[in-house]
Symmetry: C2
């Protein structure tokens, strides 16, 4: 079934995701803060472009959002010219931004008072997953709204699951980032040690990547880590944003994240090295620099 | 081709490994510090039992060793009634103990002066890998000795690789343990956070175990971690022994292992909780106990 959709935010992730909605047969009216990028998207993919989030959302059944952070999200949803100004009753907002669970709950409650639905739906899979339409989508919100949105989200998803009520998509994404942070540091220490020990790192990785030390990060990042290649992937600035959200939530729910906290500080040091845009695997560059 | 072999140390790992040598058609004369366990092994598997390492090694082409630590290894190799007292010229010692690279180099040098060969060959794959004959074997030493030993080691190996000269098998094993330590802590923090956030941990693991956070540890340990089940697997005492060796080597080669060092201290706290024999995944028990 084809729907009338809107897409707010044509960044690294949103740009290809909105394209997949069109390819799946839905109509898409897009809004982007930089109009030039919206024009480029329209030229490449077709679809329509709007001057404000409200204008993009005014006729949509599903309004997808993929912006930078909590404040950006509040601005496009309830700011001037925002989605709440124009969305039709019954419309479903699907937010793919990685945000706090707090803002997800806040906007879901406000959406409900307006006869709208809001699903928090952060993704993992990175730029490659967005381009291939193979993202993992972690959703929080009302089960009935999820059931309606899920077939449309499938346009760019390999997996799309409801984790619980509003905020639970974001909480699941936090678990994902917590598991990655310490894991990448452990892998960095392993490769750093292997280099200093004079080992053939490629051979070591071949041997140990089949057993209890193996991970997606080991299999997909050891080679670029060894080559000091970090100009791709998921940027340190974004990882710090995500870890900040997770650490704040941990402070609220009383869980202890000592290594996650430490690795967040290591990422701050990578930023000081000029690594804001480097992939998260650049933790090894910090070790090699003697920090 | 069938060889005359000796096996020194019928512990959790050595017991089934020596059994696999027999099943592969080699003769095995075993020695174990506790004679009762050696008798039990003989009753279960056949083979012969000797009263000292020297007696076990006296006629062997290959002398396998799997004991506790550096000191145990020195004792069975060059102590009174040790292997060096009796081994035939040209015999190859294959040491499966996880030890320092220092003792591996020391014994390899001494073996050479006696016309013997010494390969350091620590394993990974745990008790299950030893029982199924599917261990990963990481070897350091002379390539010619490795070429002769490799088909015999294959009796209990899924993978057997030469990593470099003497000590390099041990160095590779250290990399393996370094990669595991921080990874298990990261996974523990993720599950601990998920619990406190009220998430359905099984569902979270199903969702994130397909992407960038995935690991062997996540796939094989999340459920037991959630159930506080730690009476299996690789014991904390052994992990601390291995991390101690790796941290000492890092101090020598100038590499920085800050998270590995921290996690080693966390394991010390697990020991204080009575977790000496618990699986390494018990790091989560420390978090749950509020340390």
């Amino acid at each position: 079934m084809a729907f009338c959709t809107a897409f707010i935010g044509l960044g690294t992730m949103g740009y290809p995701m909105a394209g997949h909605l069109l390819k799946a047969g839905h109509t898409v009216t897009a809004f982007n803060r930089s109009a030039e990028k919206a024009a480029r998207w329209q030229q490449e993919h077709g679809g329509a472009v709007a001057a404000t989030p409200a204008q993009a959302a005014s006729r949509a059944d599903f309004i997808f959002i993929c912006v930078g952070n909590d404040d950006d999200l509040r601005a496009v949803v309830k700011g001037e010219g925002g989605i709440f100004d124009a969305a039709r009753p019954g419309a479903i907002l699907v937010d793919h931004t990685t945000t706090s669970a707090t803002v997800a709950r806040e906007l879901a409650a406000e959406a409900q008072t307006r006869g709208l639905h809001f699903l928090d739906a952060p993704v993992s899979g990175g730029q490659a997953g967005a381009q291939n339409g193979k993202l993992t989508v972690m959703v929080g919100g009302d089960p009935a709204a999820f059931a309606r949105a899920e077939p449309v989200i499938q346009s760019f998803a390999a997996s799309c699951k409801l984790l619980g009520p509003s905020g639970y998509g974001q909480l699941c994404k936090m678990v994902n980032q917590i598991c990655i942070a310490g894991l990448v540091q452990a892998l960095s220490e392993g490769i750093h040690f292997a280099r200093h020990a004079g080992l053939d790192v490629a051979l070591v990785m071949e041997v140990i990547s089949k057993g209890a030390a193996s991970s997606w990060q080991m299999q997909n990042r050891w080679q670029t880590m060894l080559n000091n290649q970090f100009d791709f992937g998921f940027a340190v600035d974004w990882m710090r944003k995500d870890l900040g959200i997770a650490l704040a939530e941990a402070a609220r729910n009383g869980s202890a994240l000592p290594v996650t906290q430490l690795v967040d500080q290591y990422y701050a040091e990578v930023q000081k090295m000029g690594g804001n845009r480097w992939d998260t695997s650049s933790l090894i560059a910090r070790l090699e620099a003697g920090h």
